[in-house]
């Protein structure tokens, strides 16, 4: 053979990609880019390029393992094709359905957090104690300091687990609050009508 046959071109990032792969497979929580940069002892730009390479290699439909950007970092998860098999062997992080009360509480914490229980109760109009306790137990929300002052109420915020379960890269991926239908025009008119009757 006159010219050597080169089927595989060695990518200069291959070694770094292998290192990142190893770090990600050991991790039990999403790894932020900064942590990967520090652990791989390489520069950020190269790490991001290598992550791009890995994302292509581990994408849905190509591999049983999917690399995704979630909860402010990078993490492996199982491909959706394998979900059924996974479900036979493992429990989902949120196995049982979440009640309406819990979902409303979760939404309030996600949008307004850190937020206290009295604040949640004020918006929902009912006590939030058991919903908050349940969400803490599921690891979807966690304590985040206290209100200022003596005996300040405990504040809650959502956890990285919440973002992971809901497949969010960050909380900014939630729909904008202004875009959600807070449309109470009809109700407002009726309320004002009642008010006029009263003051009349």
């Amino acid at each position: 053979m006159e010219r050597p046959l080169r089927l595989v071109t060695a990518n200069p990032l291959d070694q770094l990609a292998r290192t990142l792969e190893a770090l990600l497979v050991v991790a039990s929580a999403p790894l932020p880019v900064e942590e990967l940069v520090a652990a791989a002892d390489d520069d950020r730009e190269r790490v991001e390029m290598a992550l791009g390479l890995l994302s292509e290699r581990y994408r849905e439909g190509r591999s049983g393992i999917v690399l995704e950007q979630v909860a402010g970092g990078w993490a492996f998860r199982a491909s959706r094709d394998a979900a059924e098999a996974c479900g036979r062997l493992f429990e989902r992080p949120v196995q049982r359905g979440i009640s309406q009360a819990s979902l409303e509480t979760l939404a309030i914490v996600a949008y307004l957090g850190p937020v206290t229980r009295p604040e949640i109760a004020r918006i929902r109009g009912v006590a939030a104690d058991s919903a908050v306790a349940g969400l803490v137990e599921r690891g979807l929300i966690a304590e985040a300091g206290r209100d200022d002052g003596v005996g300040g109420a405990v504040k809650y915020r959502t956890t990285p687990m919440f973002e992971r379960v809901f497949g969010l890269e960050s909380l900014s991926q939630l729909p904008r609050l202004d875009d959600l239908a807070g449309d109470v025009d009809e109700l407002r008119e009726r309320l004002h009508a009642v008010a006029e009757q009263r003051s009349a």
């Binding site: 979440i98 979902l103 309030i108 996600a110 918006i123 109009g125 809901f166 959600l180 309320l191 009642v194």
Partner: protein, 256 residues
Amino acid sequence: MVVRELELDLDAFEGPFDLLLTLILKEELDLADVDVAGIVVRFVERLAEREELDLDACGEFLVLVAALLELKARGLFEDEAAELADLEPEEAAEELARRLAEYRRMKEAAGWLSERLAEERDRFFRVGPAPLAPQPERKLAPQEPEQLAEVIRLLAKEPPAVSLNHMALRFPPVTQFVERFRALLRRRSRFDFDSELGGLSRAEQAVAFLALLELRRADEITISQAAPFAPIRVARVGEESAAADERTLAWNARSA
């Protein structure tokens, strides 16, 4: 102990607990005026008077007092209804509409989350404790192989047998020295203890000393020592008195 029959003597009320509850529920008595801590103190006093702990009564009391405290707290702090009541009807309507809008948006958000959760139901990922943090590296000082071998060779060597000599103390019988001293004093009227026994071991010297004391007790000898740690002089009885006479004479001569 019946909690409801607990007799109370408070500033605002005097009588059984049961009646107090009735009056409060009928709003004939303002809870804000009632000293709840006083009720608790009275109950604890009653509890202390009794020997055994009545858990049923404690439980019932706890529930009643908790309910009273909640009622009192609500009464003391202005509630939201009162806030709204202070507003003009127009303002109240606007405030209500604002709150309803806020709640409705959160309800929408909850709906979005619910849908999202259903879509993402097939997400399986590793959940677990964080892996262990790296241990700080412990660096060893640089080692010379020869030096290491030398040290190991020392360890490999059979250690010297432990001497037990000090444990084998031999105590000759006291009588042996008693006989020896008697024989000595038959030949000489006096002798010097230290020079006579100088070559013996400490144990043997100690036994010899005991023999000396034994002879002294039997009044066979006299013992004298000029000063502490000076040689001990031993003399036959009778010989010593001659020596004492000499001393007395010397003393007489000098003092004369």
